[in-house]
Amino acid sequence: MRAPTGTLGCFADLVAAVAAQGLPHRAVAPQVEVQVHRPPVVGAITLIWSAQVPTVQLLHVIAHPPANRPALLDAIARINHALPRPGFGLAPDGDALYFRLVLARRRGTDDLAAAAIGPALTAVIDAVAAFAPVLAEVARGARPADQAVRARPAQATGAAFDWIVE
C-alpha cells in the first residue's frame, strides 16, 4: 500500500485518498465504506467526515452473541485502557458492539494529513482482530472480564502495516 501524501480538507478529499489506494469502497457523503478481509475482520470499515465537529471517524461493527452487558462493559474498559489507540464501545441498547477510532482534524484549518488514514485503518483492524474474539468469549461467559487483557495476543499492539484487502 502506498503512503498517501497531502492534506484532506473535505469529504471528497477523503474519498479520493481511499480511491488512490486502490481500496474497494463505496462512498455516500459523509461516509465512505472500505471493504476489508483479514479474518476475523471481514466487512466494512466506515469512514465518516464530520461537518459538525473537526473529526474523521473510523467505525467497524462487530457481530457478537447476546451479551452479559456488565461483563462486556468491564472487558471493554480493560481492553481500551490497554490499547495505544482505544475505541471499543457498546451501544446503550446493547445491540451493537463496535470499534470506533476518531481522528481529530487540525485546529484552524480543519483539515487532516492524508498519511493519517492508513495507520488508522491498521489500528482498527489490529484491535478488532486481537480482541473481538476475546469479547465474544466474555459475552458467552466463557472468559471472565478481568482476563480480557491477559488473553491479548502478542501482536495485539503491533504497528505492522500488514492488513489485507480483497
Binding site: 474498559a77 485502557h81 495505544p84 489507540r85 457498546l90 446503550p92 494529513a113 489500528a123 504497528a159
Partner: protein, 147 residues
Amino acid sequence: MRSFAELVDWLAAAGIEHRADATHALVELPSAALPDDGTVVLVWRARATVDVVHQFAWPVPDDASALLDAIARLNHALALPGVGIDHARRRAYVRVAIARVDGALEAAVLGTVLTEVIAMARDLGPRLRAVAEGELPAAAILDPIGA
C-alpha cells in the same frame, strides 16, 4: 514535533505553562478550567502516539458497574470519545491518543485534542463522580449535555 524534547520546546515557545518529566517522557499542563486543580498530561509514547490525559482525583468504587455503564454511554455519544478506567489505580480519566503522522506530532491537532480533553474533563467529571458515588443513575449521564 518529532521528539519529546521538541514537544517541550514547542510548549515553551508557545508560552504554555508546563512541567516536563523527561525520564517518563511526560509533561504536565495545569489548567484552571479543570476540576480539583487538575492537570492535563501529555505522554510521548514509544509506539508512535501521544496521549493527552486528564485523570480524575476521586476513586473508582469497588463496584464499578454503574460507572462502567455511564462511561460506555458517554463514549458512544461523544464526538471524540476517550473516557476510561484504570482498574489497577482505581481512577477514571479522559484520554485521547494522537497518532504521530510520519513520526511527527502536529501542533494544530494537539490544539484540537487539548481543547476537547479539557472540555470533557470539566463538563463530564462532576457527573461521572456523581455516578461513581451513587448520586446519579448511569442512564442519566447524558441528560444535562443533551446528547
